[in-house]
Every structure is written in structure tokens, then in C-alpha cells.
């Protein structure tokens, strides 16, 4: 009996059902591989690559949750493959691994995320106030940058984009920049040195109004950025203050004259 337990522990196998196929379409293919202590989903994918599917495509780089390359949907849940331990998911049944669904599939586990790189270019770049000191440097207090530093933790894994229903279910990619780029815009808008104004862009071009604060993005963020509460809601408030507040509008009108 003891021996049986030993065998079970040392040579446990699990089945992974992985999407295979190109842009035209794909199918789920089952692979069985041995799993051991501390393994993450990405380890299993690599093992399958080395053992039985050398042309199985997946993105990865750091394998430590720092680069945001290996985003996928594991049993339907958007996660980083490198940070998802096998002992946190049920491996008694086949584990499904699919590419992010909010973007077109390229091949196997790879999604075409190029849209995100185009979106970023459209957001007005950082524009600092003149330096505070003669040597060309600035002074900022740590307390004034804590929030911006939270946003700058983003590793651009695009899991928040993947889970956002405006993109995932309603395909509003042309009208809405998604949570990642609202966080990016917030990091710029709340940067103590930045003097650019992006509220009009956010309202019209970037479609901030589409976000109806379901907070799904905050839940999947591997960096635990409080996307909705700390980034999107304050941005929405800025937009409202500047563009929908009747008193502010009146003041603006008078000032213009």
C-alpha cells in the first residue's frame, strides 16, 4: 500500500487539452504528461513540447511573472501560465489551455495582440513640466508617486483586456482602448510632472464611457493593480468634471470670452 502511494506521488500523470491550429481555426488536442511538485502550467506545456509536440507554439520569456508573455485561458480562466501552479487547479480531469479569446488566434496558444501596440501609440505621450532645479531635475515626494507606481507595475500581459466584456463579447476594439490603456492613461494623467490633458481623448477617442465598472479586469490582474477603483473611476471623474459639469462649462465659456 505504501508502495502504491509512493508510485502515485512520483509518477503522477495529468492530461492537458490544448488548442492546436492556426488563424483559420483549431481543435482541442489531449496530451498526457508527468507532473511533479511545484510545477506550473507552463512547465507542463514545455514538457509536452519536448516530449510529443515540438511545434506546439506558446509565448514565454521570464517564467517568473515579470514579462507578461504567457497569458492564456486555463480551464477558461485568464491567467499567466508561468504563475499558475498545477496544485492550485484540478488535474484529475483534463486541464484545458487556450489562447486569450479577446484577440484573434495566431497559432496554438498564441494570440494576435498587435492591436494593443497600436492603441498605445494613440495616447498622448508624457509631457513633463519644466525641471524644478537648475541641474534639470525634478522633486517629487514618495507619497505623490505611490499611485502612479502602482499603475506602472503593469507587465502588459493583456489579461485585463482579455476579460473585459466590452472587448471580449462586444468587440469594441475600434472604439474602446480597454483597461490596460486606461491604466496607462491614468499613470500619465496622475504623474506629478505631467502637464498634458487627455480627458477629451479619453471621452471621445478612447471610449472610457464604455466601461461599466464590472471590475473583472481588477480580478485577473497578476500584479494586483486595482484597475477599476484606482485608475478608471478617477479618470471617469476627471472626464465628468471637465466635460459634463454645467458650472465648469459656464466658467469655461466665460473665460474663453
Amino acid at each position: 500500500m505504501l508502495f502504491v502511494q509512493f508510485v502515485a506521488k512520483e509518477f503522477m500523470k495529468a492530461t492537458f487539452s490544448i488548442r492546436r491550429g492556426g488563424r483559420e481555426g483549431g481543435e482541442m488536442v489531449d496530451y498526457s504528461t508527468e507532473i511533479g511538485e511545484g510545477m506550473v502550467v507552463l512547465d507542463a506545456v514545455h514538457q509536452i513540447q519536448a516530449e510529443s509536440a515540438p511545434d506546439l507554439a506558446c509565448r514565454w520569456n521570464c517564467k517568473a511573472g515579470k514579462c507578461g508573455s504567457c497569458s492564456a485561458e486555463i480551464n477558461g480562466k485568464p491567467q499567466l501560465m508561468c504563475m499558475t501552479r498545477l496544485d492550485t487547479i484540478d488535474t484529475t480531469e483534463a486541464v484545458t489551455i487556450e489562447p486569450m479569446r479577446a484577440f484573434p488566434a495566431v497559432k496554438d496558444l498564441i494570440a494576435d495582440v498587435s492591436w494593443n501596440f497600436e492603441v498605445k501609440k494613440k495616447i498622448k505621450k508624457f509631457n513633463p513640466r519644466p525641471p524644478d532645479a537648475e541641474d534639470g531635475t525634478w522633486r517629487m515626494q514618495q507619497s505623490d508617486i505611490d499611485r502612479v507606481q502602482e499603475f506602472r507595475k503593469c507587465i502588459e500581459c493583456f489579461l485585463c483586456q482579455d476579460v473585459c466584456h466590452v472587448l471580449r463579447d462586444h468587440n469594441k476594439h475600434a472604439e474602446f482602448i480597454g483597461p490596460r490603456f486606461l491604466v496607462y492613461a491614468a499613470a500619465l494623467e496622475m504623474h506629478p510632472l505631467d502637464i498634458e490633458n487627455r480627458t477629451e481623448q479619453l471621452k471621445d477617442l478612447h471610449g472610457i464611457g464604455y466601461c461599466n465598472i464590472t471590475k473583472c479586469c481588477s480580478k485577473v490582474c497578476p500584479e494586483h493593480i486595482t484597475i477599476t477603483d484606482n485608475a478608471i473611476i478617477p479618470l471617469k471623474e476627471r472626464v465628468v468634471d471637465e466635460h459634463y459639469d454645467p458650472i465648469a462649462k459656464l466658467v469655461k465659456l466665460i473665460r474663453r470670452k
Binding site: G38, W60, C62, C67, D108, R139
Partner: protein
Amino acid sequence: MADYPTFEHDVLVIGAGGAGLRAAIEASTNGVSVGLVCKSLLGKAHTVMAEGGMAAALGNVDDRDNWKVHFSDTMRGGQYINNWRMAELHAKEAPDRVRELEAWGAVFDRTTDGKILQRNFGGHRYPRLAHVGDRTGLELIRTLQDHGVHQGIEVYMEVTVVSLLKDGDRVVGCVAYEREHGRFRIFKCKALILATGGVGRAFKITSNSWEGTGDGHALAYDAGAELIDMEFVQFHPTGMVWPPSVRGILVTEGVRGEGGVLKNSEGERFMFNDIPANYKDQTASDAEEGWRYTQGDKSANRPPELLTRDHVARCINREVKAGRGSPHGGVYLDIAWIKERLPNSVEHIKKKLPSMYHQFIQLANLDITTTPMEVGPTTHYIMGGIRVDAVTQASTVPGLFAAGECAAGINGANRLGGNSLSDLIVFGKRAGEYAAQFAKENGAGTIDDDQVKDHVLAALEPFEREGGENPYTIQHDLQEMMQKNVGIVRHHDEMIEALNGLDILRNRAARAFSPGNVDFNPGWHTALDLHNLLIVSEAITRAALERKESRGGQFRDDFPEKDPEFAKFNFSLKKGDSGAMEISRTPIAEMPAELRQVIEEMG
């Protein structure tokens, strides 16, 4: 040539980590058209893994710091075989490059008077590393990326270069394939900058991502450029050792900078047992003084945990070999102990080392605020690389430049932590500037169709070797072999075994078979990477064999002492006319009197 689309730029940069991005920005600022080719998506390069910070003598935390101290620290760390001119330029220019990042939107941690905060790191006499918690590399790459996308740089993501193209002696472009569909592309340029990073994937235990396959080293070597200092591989003392799947992942030196201590299984703080003579007067005499140093006491010397990486890695290795290691073959790194000193230690650790906290909780089920970590050496960085001119970053081949980890010179026999990120921006900028100048002064060369055809045919061979070997197995065996024979402790006999092993592996690689087609096929990519890994592995082994002494990153069991004779030159490796690797000695130029004086003054 009609078969392959051609893209033309004045300057082509290969690699989009810190050095590549900084070079591309600079070249573009100099008014030339710039293409940037990278194997991964933009912003994913290995630079994101850098944690601790970037070294620059800003003097914000300790006003005794200046370029001279930084220069002499770098030379001391590199055991005086560095390119002293590079070390000088680096120390002088790093502060401006860091301030420039702030002007581009980087948000560094702050001092109480609102300046950029600096932290302690191994081998740096004063707190010198500008940082953002323990994710400084991410901040660097994101700042450069977000600035760069508005500069009109053309970025080619997920494109891998297979070979450089030459017109006579000069590099005039490259052949590459885009990963998605495996289609070949020709890039034509007037100047080409390699910024491809390191070679960590030549070893089994490494902190490097899949990308660290020595591409730039091999591309340059195949194009006739010289590599130097290849024997100097940095084994970072603290990589994770458990669970097996995360073995090698980096644990930042910042843990020790914040007061973390190393202990063996007997609970002994063993780093106090072996302090090198040339660091004795800079090292704390007891635990109390070491702690005061980490807390900013300017009268205190640094704890021995913050000695240079080569030394700390060897001490850990020795403890493990002597049977005083942790259960999984490492030693203990304890930051939790600071609860004895700081009432709010848990919050303090989470604030100062958020990624580390996160990494251990998630991957090892371990809370670093309460429990010591298990750590051991991991292949981290290569000091060696393409030989470049200190000022221009030009290689020994016209039209070919290099910057960052794939270039060599600044670090000598051992790199100080934090000097890498500043190296990227100092010499990335220089490479961009001088490559742009070269492009302006030289017309376009001619692409030779036959060269293109040969490279493409060679790259497609793995599909035709039906019945050949699995490339993953060959890569795995190469890594095992290098780890065992040319790792942290080296010996003549083992390295001869390695050279023989490399011959066998080269033959096996020539039979590597990739099933499937050219569409995003990692098996094929792995088969092609083998060529590069084999070149860098051979270069490391040949240079290590010739250097019959121990210095910095190179430790020889059969020659455990430093030999002043070997301080007079660098080993250069070059492809000979026969195609075989040739090694020679390049004398180190004499240091000018004023720099010698700086070193003497700084002690």
C-alpha cells in the same frame, strides 16, 4: 531576391531590451531611419527581469559619491582587466542617462527631499542604485518603449535574425524570419547594432529566459568579429532552488541590500569567514555594523553578503559542498530576521521587495517576511562578448556595432550588480549615435543574393532531416554538459571533456529534425538556436581553458590563485580562415596616469 521582402533602414538595431531601445532612440534622434528587430513582443526582453536598480553616482543619498568612486569600484570589481575607458565613460555618463529617463517619464523611488532614491548593492561603496522597488528593469524598458514608439522607429516584433549579410568586409544587413509564418525577410542597412543580450541558455541552471541564446555573439562571430573575455560568466549567488521547476529564477541582490543575511544549515553567517584581502577595509567587522550599513549609517562598512557576486557565489558553493547546505542544495537567505530590528518589518519587506514577496508566495508557497528562502548560484550574465571601441561601440567589423550584454569590456572579470542597467543606457546611446554617424558617412552597400540563398537554405535544413534527433534533447544535453564541465568551479580535464562533448553535440545538431511546418514552430526555432549556443559554449570553454588562473567570474580548481601575468591581456576569439575558432591574447592598453591616480586615491 524577389522571393523575400526587403526592408531598408539607415540603422538596424537587433534586440529591443534596454540597450537596443536606447540605441534606436538615439539613432532616430540623430535623424536617420531606424528599424528595430526583436525576437519577442516589444517590452518583453530580458531587461524586465532586472530587479535591483541602475548604478549611477548621483550622490543623492551619500554626497561622497562621484564618478571617480564609481569608476574605481567598477575596476576593482572587474579585477582590473576591464576596458578602463569604458568604465570611465560609464561612471561619468550614467547620472545623465538616469536623469534623462526621469524626463521621459520614469518614476523612481524618492528620497525624503524628493530626489531619486539610491540603494546599496554589492561592490558599490556608497548607495548608488536608482531603483523602483525591485522592478527597476521593467521601469527602464517601459520608459524607453513608451518614449520610443513616438520616435518614428519601425519595430519588427517576433522576428529572428539567422545571419548577417556582408558586402566585402562590411556588414550591410541581415536575413531573418518572422516567427508567425516562418517567412524570410531581408533587412538592408548602412549600420547594424547588435543588442541581443546574453547566453544563459547555454547552462542548465540560469536566470535567463529562452531568448538568452547568444545570438548576437554568434552573429558577430560568424561575420568575422572578435569576441573577448568569454571565460567570464557571472553566476549570480542567489537563484531560487526549490521547487525544481523554478530552479535558477533570480532572487535580487536587493534582498541583501535591505539587510538580508546568508546562513548555512548550522545557522552560521558564513560570509564572515572569507573576506578577500582587497575588500577587507571596506567590509563590516561584525553583524551589528553590517546592519547599520544597510540602514544608511555612513560610518559603517558593508556586510560581507554585499561582496562581489563571484565571491559570494563561490562561498555558497563551498558551504553546499561541505555538507552545510539547505535541504534542496542551497543555503538560507534570511530577510525575515529584520523583525528583530524593525517593528513594521512585514510591511517594510513587502514595500521594498514586492516582486520577491510575490514570487516566493506564488511559486514556492513561502512567505519571505516570516521564513528564510533557499537560494543557490544561477547563471546570470556574461561579461564577455563582442569586442567594441569604448567611445563608438564599433566592433572590429565595419558597419557592425554592439551594446549591452552582448558587447564586452566594461565589466572585466566580474560585473557589479546595477552596472548592467546603466551600461545599457550609456552605451546604447553611444552605439546609436555612432551608428547613425557611420550611416550618414557611408552609402548603402549591396546585398549579395547568393549569401541570402545560402542562409535561407541552411535555415530550412531541420525540416529535411526526417528521422533526425529532437532539438530539445540536444539543447538539454548541451546545458547539462556545460553546467557540469564549465560551471562555477572549473578544471582543465573537465573542460577538455567539454570540448569533446561540444564536437559530439555539433554533429548531433547537424542532424536535428523539426517536424511540422515553418508556422510558429518552437521546435524549429530551437534547432536554429543550437548553432548560436554551440558557438558561445565553445568560446567560453576555450577562453576558460587558456586562462590558467582564478579571477572574477572564472574560478579554476587547478589554478586557484590570481596570476598577475593574466592581468595584462584579454583573450580574443575569432573565426579563423579554416572556420575553426582561434584564440589570441589582446594586450590591455596602459591606463592613463590620471585614471591610475583615481584608483590610488580611492584605495
